[in-house]
Symmetry: C2
Subunit: 315 residues, 2 copies
């Protein structure tokens, strides 16, 4: 069904100078095989986050080009902002999107890492599922010490020799992390209460770190001026980092179950940004009790009309 697509969500350390942001975003505009979906800037964070999809090679070239622009327009020695950061291009994840697997994303992540190291002399750490050692998987651990601490951090050759590029920081662009990861789903549930304690308690009950579902991260967030007219709405804000193993409907039902403890109802859920089709099909199958065993077992690949491929469309 159509061409191979990857998604990328690169983070750049510039969120105030819109001319500079525009130059970065331009790398993803009017490029054959690439589509810019979103460019969010945050002046407090002094950071911008681009979302783009594209054919793997086209997306690779756009990202590499954006490194060139960022090196030119961003000087990390002068950067300040509330969000932790270690480089002009702080972090670039590649995510399988359509007709692509984790392996496709991993290949492109490593090609970009190699090109960026060679062309711009920026040291690159492969992170997330592309990481070359367990202590390099978690971005927060790589970034610890931030830009200001990176020169010293890279002295520790045993732990922090970069995967690509030089073994010392780029003087103005610092260090960067590139890697492949599976799609994560940003999933928020709005509660019919302004009570933040309830949202926080529910978040704690469902999140992995506090004993909840393995692939759920969650916090309570206070929403102001809800469109319904409610002044304050308490929200359980989640990241579902593996929808195959911790399905959306499980997180949803877990939050509803916890909310009952407080006599609180769910107003609605919000799916923020991109979501893989299969994660929603999984929900439909669950709630419809679509046959899970026996001869009538539902087969999304064969039974969903749009999934049918002609011979010459097959990979």
């Amino acid at each position: 069904m159509g061409k191979k697509l990857l998604e990328t969500v690169p983070n750049y350390s510039e969120g105030r100078d819109m001319e500079k942001v525009g130059k970065i975003a331009a790398c993803f505009k009017n490029k054959k095989g690439v589509r810019l979906l979103d460019c969010q800037t945050d002046t407090n964070h002094n950071r911008c986050v681009i979302t783009a999809v594209g054919e793997p090679e086209a997306l690779r070239d756009a990202v590499v080009e954006s490194y060139g622009v960022a090196v030119e327009v961003i000087d990390m020695t002068k950067h300040e902002g509330q969000h932790p950061r270690m480089g002009a291009v702080d972090v670039v994840p590649f995510i399988p999107c359509r007709n692509t697997t984790f392996e496709d994303a991993d290949v492109i992540a490593k090609e970009v890492a190699k090109l960026v190291g060679e062309k711009y002399e920026i040291p690159v750490f492969l992170y997330e599922d592309s990481a070359t050692a367990p202590h390099r998987q978690n971005l927060a651990k790589i970034r610890k010490g931030q830009f200001e601490g990176m020169a010293e951090k890279l002295q520790d050759k045993a732990l922090w020799t970069p995967d690509f590029g030089p073994d010392h920081i780029h003087p103005t662009a610092g260090v960067t992390a590139i890697g492949a990861r599976m799609p994560l789903i940003a999933f928020n549930i709005n509660l019919d209460t302004p009570n933040m304690e309830i949202a926080t308690n529910i978040a704690n009950a469902v999140k992995n770190i506090r004993g909840g579902y393995h692939f759920v991260k969650a916090i309570g967030i206070e929403l102001k001026d809800h469109y319904s007219g409610k002044e304050t709405v308490a929200q359980v804000s989640m990241n579902l980092v593996n929808y195959e193993k911790t399905a959306i409907y499980r997180a949803f039902e877990a939050v509803k179950m916890e909310a009952r403890r407080y006599g609180v109802n769910v107003i609605e859920s919000e799916i923020v940004g991109l979501v893989p089709m299969q994660s929603l099909i999984d929900c439909a199958e669950y709630y419809l009790q679509a046959c899970a065993f026996g001869p009538m077992k539902f087969d999304a690949k064969k039974q969903i009309m749009e999934n049918w491929l002609l011979e010459d469309e097959e990979e």
Copy 2:
């Protein structure tokens, strides 16, 4: 996302002679741009039902070819079977499947009708959403009198002049109906009871004709030897003929609501054959209470990863 695809489900009046059925099915095999999904024969009905998807023109040509084969191998003057029938090719619906609309299906239906009328001298009634008069929409009304009564029926020029082809029946192939329709969803719900009266009561409560949902047809069916080991399972068997207006989840919740009256639970649902992606996304949205209003309103077209198109893939 890929090429345009239509679905077709032609019905032929031959379900006993597998050599003849094989010749008909062969029209849909090894044809570029066409894929045979299913070929079901029923010896009681003496009928076979083919399911195929394909690019509109390729599918058109395969169906027209199959008319030629059917005319050759089927003699309606000698046909007997339990299912009502009026022609060698009894009825051919075309259904939008992927990147196609009702209009695409309608165009192909009329092209096939014209070709069949000219090439094989079979009178064609356009039916369903392609019908040229309200009394010709319903297949049962067109087919009333069956093959044996068609010669006389066509004497009534005011009501039954064919849309294409001659104004008299084909001596051995009779009459045929061709038309476009929206996808229907065959949706069964298995109840945790063997009591058929309950299934029939529920079917009656949810079906259009008895005051239920507008686009639901339903009957109670007795399932023998359920895979779970239950000897008999009562089933509510439905056709949802417009999933945009009567959604799957509405039919499902209506059956559950009625079943509560009898203290009966739902074991599972069965989705039989093809189902449009959107109908399942609608269920996920409903059950997850995905934001229906306000700035976070869920937009399947933009938020489902696989739905993103590159410029050159757009229609």
